[in-house]
């Protein structure tokens, strides 16, 4: 990509917004807090990774993934399983039963596929459902006692399998692999049919992954949440910084109190870490886009029939790009959990993690990686700020009304809901009037 002053100006404008957010005095628009500004930046960087993943699917290949939230959630499982300390005794209590249950499930599916391929139609019609039902009952019989045993171990503090106790950065690629696995299952069934089917199937898998995380307490404690996920390597804990005399002295020389200095340091280190991941990803995706592979993907997106006539296997390519994109979403999910330091399955909301990401990609410019990144930062900034702007705007709108009137109270109370409305409106307006987004594809 050649230097494009318009794009540089757009990114500079975005940076300026974040700087103003931190540096300006507290006023109606900006909070004037570096803490808020860096908080927005960090989640914005993760959202940018997520938007890159969605852009790989939508921008490169025209695949509509309506279950991004599921891939984010399954990626978020990785830090729990990789980085948390093991729950002593849990594995010996139910590990073998659990492994047997999963083995039974795999064997059942494999047997069913085998019979379905080999046997005659009459045998198939009876045998396949019987195998599936029998296998499912066997799985349940093995699974139930095993999970009960695991959940009984150290229930108050853990009650789950626990993790491997490895560094949390290792969990990021693992999250990507988890998401890729889920994407393979969905893509294998829903791709190659009409394009709406993928949207509907992904909507389903998204809800299912989230409900699994909510309900399977042996896995990640369900709605009990997992707290205290270890920090990645260079990021210290605030409390350690505050107790270090050296750090306190240096903070004082910059004119900061130790508490805010420590939170800022932690956030900055996170930003650096996420920025590295984002830059590597942008470099990779840009390389991929300009490679023969990228040309092929665009050719398929723009004219499937012609690409198929040139000997390209459309369904296989779609599956490949769908898995790649989902893996990036999984990576972002793992990063998100690392930043939060806790796993709260209740927070996986499709509006926030699927459709907001879509708005980011479309506003930024689908098909353009830099566009997705810019869209992610900008929309995340607006989405966060709308929380304080909405009520202020509503207060301004209603300032002429009589105090205590029911309409005024209702309007003030529903300012929070206007966020959704605004997001929908932005999506529709951009889709209609500027479908190529802020930074269009070439």
């Amino acid at each position: 990509m050649t230097l494009n002053y318009r794009n540089i100006a757009l990114f500079a404008g975005m940076a300026l917004l974040l700087v103003l957010e931190g540096a300006s005095a507290k006023n109606a628009i900006f909070s004037g807090s570096w803490d808020t500004s860096l908080g927005i930046l960090n989640v914005g960087l993760i959202s940018a990774v997520l938007a890159l993943g969605v852009n790989i699917q939508w921008g490169y290949a025209g695949l509509f993934n309506a279950g991004v939230v599921g891939f984010v959630a399954i990626g978020g499982l990785a830090p729990v399983l990789v980085a948390m300390p093991a729950n002593p005794g849990a594995f010996s209590a139910g590990g073998i039963g659990l492994a047997a249950a999963f083995a039974a499930a795999v064997a059942t599916v494999w047997l069913a596929i085998l019979v379905n391929r080999r046997a005659s139609l009459q045998v198939r019609l009876i045998a396949v459902p019987l195998i599936l039902i029998g296998g499912f009952l066997l799985y349940r019989a093995l699974f139930g006692p095993a999970t009960t045993a695991i959940e009984a171990v150290n229930t108050a503090a853990a009650g789950n399998l626990g993790g491997l106790g490895l560094p949390v950065v290792l969990a990021w690629p693992v999250g990507a692999v988890f998401a890729a696995g889920a994407a393979w299952v969905v893509g294998k069934t829903a791709l190659g049919l009409r394009s709406d089917y993928l949207a509907i199937a992904t909507l389903g898998i998204g809800e299912i992954i989230v409900s699994v995380l909510r309900n399977e307490e042996w896995l990640a404690r369900g709605v009990l949440n997992v707290n205290g996920i270890p920090r990645p390597w260079p990021v210290p804990r605030e409390i350690d910084l505050q107790s270090s005399a050296d750090f306190v002295a240096r903070a004082a020389s910059l004119g900061l109190d130790p508490v805010s200095a420590s939170t800022l340091t932690v956030k900055l280190l996170y930003s650096a870490l996420f920025l590295i991941v984002l830059l590597v990803l942008i470099w990779l995706t840009q390389k991929a886009l300009s490679s023969p592979w990228g040309r092929m993907m665009r050719a398929i997106r723009d004219n499937e029939t012609a690409a198929a006539a040139m000997g390209k296997n459309i369904t296989r390519r779609h599956l490949q790009v769908f898995i790649l994109g989902s893996a990036v979403c999984g990576l972002a999910g793992a990063m998100m959990i690392t930043l939060d330091g806790q796993m709260t399955p209740g927070s996986y909301n499709p509006l926030r993690y699927t459709f907001l990401i879509w708005v980011m990609v479309i506003v930024g410019g689908s098909g353009n990686n830099f566009g997705s990144v810019l869209g992610a930062m900008l929309i995340w900034y607006l989405y966060t700020k709308a929380e304080s702007w909405g009520p202020q705007l509503m207060a301004f709108v209603t300032s002429g009304m009589a105090d205590g009137s029911a309409i005024k109270a209702h309007l003030l109370a529903s300012a929070e809901q206007m966020r959704l409305l605004t997001m929908g409106l932005i999506l529709l307006l951009v889709l209609r009037f500027s479908p190529r987004g802020l930074i269009p594809e070439k």
């Binding site: 025209g62 509509f64 309506a66 499912f136 349940r140 139930g144 069934t189 829903a190 049919l193 009409r194 394009s195 709406d196 089917y197 949207a199 509907i200 199937a201 909507l203 389903g204 898998i205 809800e207 299912i208 409900s211 699994v212 909510r214 309900n215 499709p350 509006l351 459709f355 879509w358 479309i362 109370a413 529903s414 809901q417 206007m418 966020r419 959704l420 409305l421 605004t422 997001m423 929908g424 409106l425 999506l427 529709l428 889709l431 209609r432």
Partner: protein
């Protein structure tokens, strides 16, 4: 006696609730399938159209209740339903004008329309929340039971009670009437026939002088009516909460695809297939089995294939199976 008890338990916990739920899903899926047949895209905003229609119906219900209007023993919401339908029809017609028509004229890819419907979904969701809030709302004010469990036990002497809620009866009766009216309309009237012609072959229909904008407008009005009725019945039967309607989207899509997208008969069958599977798979059959086998044979744990939290997994699994083996659905809808 035990055998009768088992049947009553099955009726009470599986067959009756699943029938009512199935009728609600069928009405929802009919709307989705009609839009798909005529406008050729999956309308993600359908769940929120249902929520909006229900919200307006609830508001009018409250208004009527405040005026002292009542059609007891039936719930007041039934009287408010036409107002809800009118408001929803106006909303979706406006949406079509402002959003979908542009892409239709441009002959955009269906997936662009799907995406636009996601934007519409956001907006409708916002409007619904704005109008009525996010609380859980009970608005059923009619007589609660047709058959009361306690009275049933007293009258029959069975250990198992049978409860038939009036909302369930209303759901089934309304659904039958609506489906009958819809099929009469599609099969007998000129407009209905032109809709079917348009769905079967757009070019041929245009050649024979069918006005596409009129067909589209009628489709939206019918879809709005179906959505409002389905949403109100669902709300009467359970309760109204905006987010639940978003979650209904998956079973509704599954029902429409199982039956074959674009096929109205299929949508109804699909609705019941999904509802019965969902209820049967997540029901704990322990009680029923206990009546049928000798006392000490009954297992200790629940006899349940999946816990109720996973009811979405049921519609999803059925969806996947259909996509794998028969992507056009049971009744051969459109697949391309």
């Amino acid at each position: 006696m035990d055998f009768l008890n088992a049947i009553v338990a099955l009726l009470n916990f599986v067959i009756i609730p699943a029938s009512a739920y199935g009728a609600q899903l069928a009405l929802g899926a009919l709307g989705v399938t009609l839009i798909y047949g005529i406008l050729r895209f999956s309308n993600f905003a359908h769940g929120d159209t249902m929520a909006f229609g229900t919200a307006i119906t609830i508001l009018v219900t409250w208004g009527l209740q405040a005026l002292g209007v009542s059609i007891s023993p039936l719930p007041t919401a039934l009287l408010a339903l036409p107002f809800g339908i009118l408001a929803t029809a106006a909303l979706v017609l406006g949406t079509d004008r402002a959003v979908y028509r542009f892409y239709r004229k441009k002959k955009s890819d269906p997936i662009i329309l799907v995406m636009a419907s996601v934007g519409v979904m956001f907006m409708m969701n916002g409007i619904t929340r704005f109008v009525i809030g996010v609380r859980d709302i009970q608005f059923d004010d009619g007589v609660r039971f047709v058959i009361n469990a306690r009275e049933f036990r007293a009258a029959t002497g069975l250990a198992e009670g049978l409860a038939l809620r009036s909302t369930q009866v209303i759901t089934l009766v309304t659904a039958v009437l609506v489906v009958w009216a819809l099929f009469w309309f599609l099969g007998r009237t000129r407009t209905g026939k032109s809709m079917r012609a348009f769905s079967d072959n757009e070019d041929l229909a245009l050649l024979s002088g069918i006005n596409p904008e009129r067909v589209v407008a009628v489709t939206w009005i019918i879809a709005a009516a179906l959505a409002t009725i389905a949403g109100t019945l669902f709300g009467l039967d359970k309760s109204f909460k905006a987010f639940n309607y978003f979650q209904l989207l998956l079973p509704i899509f599954a029902a429409a695809i199982v039956g074959g997208l674009g096929n109205p008969l299929g949508a109804i069958a699909g609705g019941f297939v999904i509802a019965f599977s969902e209820v049967a798979v997540t029901f704990d059959f322990r009680k029923v089995v206990a009546y049928l086998v000798p006392g000490d044979w009954t297992p200790d744990g629940p006899i349940q294939l999946l816990s109720t939290e996973y009811k979405f997994a049921v519609s999803f699994t059925i969806l996947i199976i259909v996509l794998l083996f028969r992507p056009t659905g049971i009744f051969r809808g459109k697949s391309t």
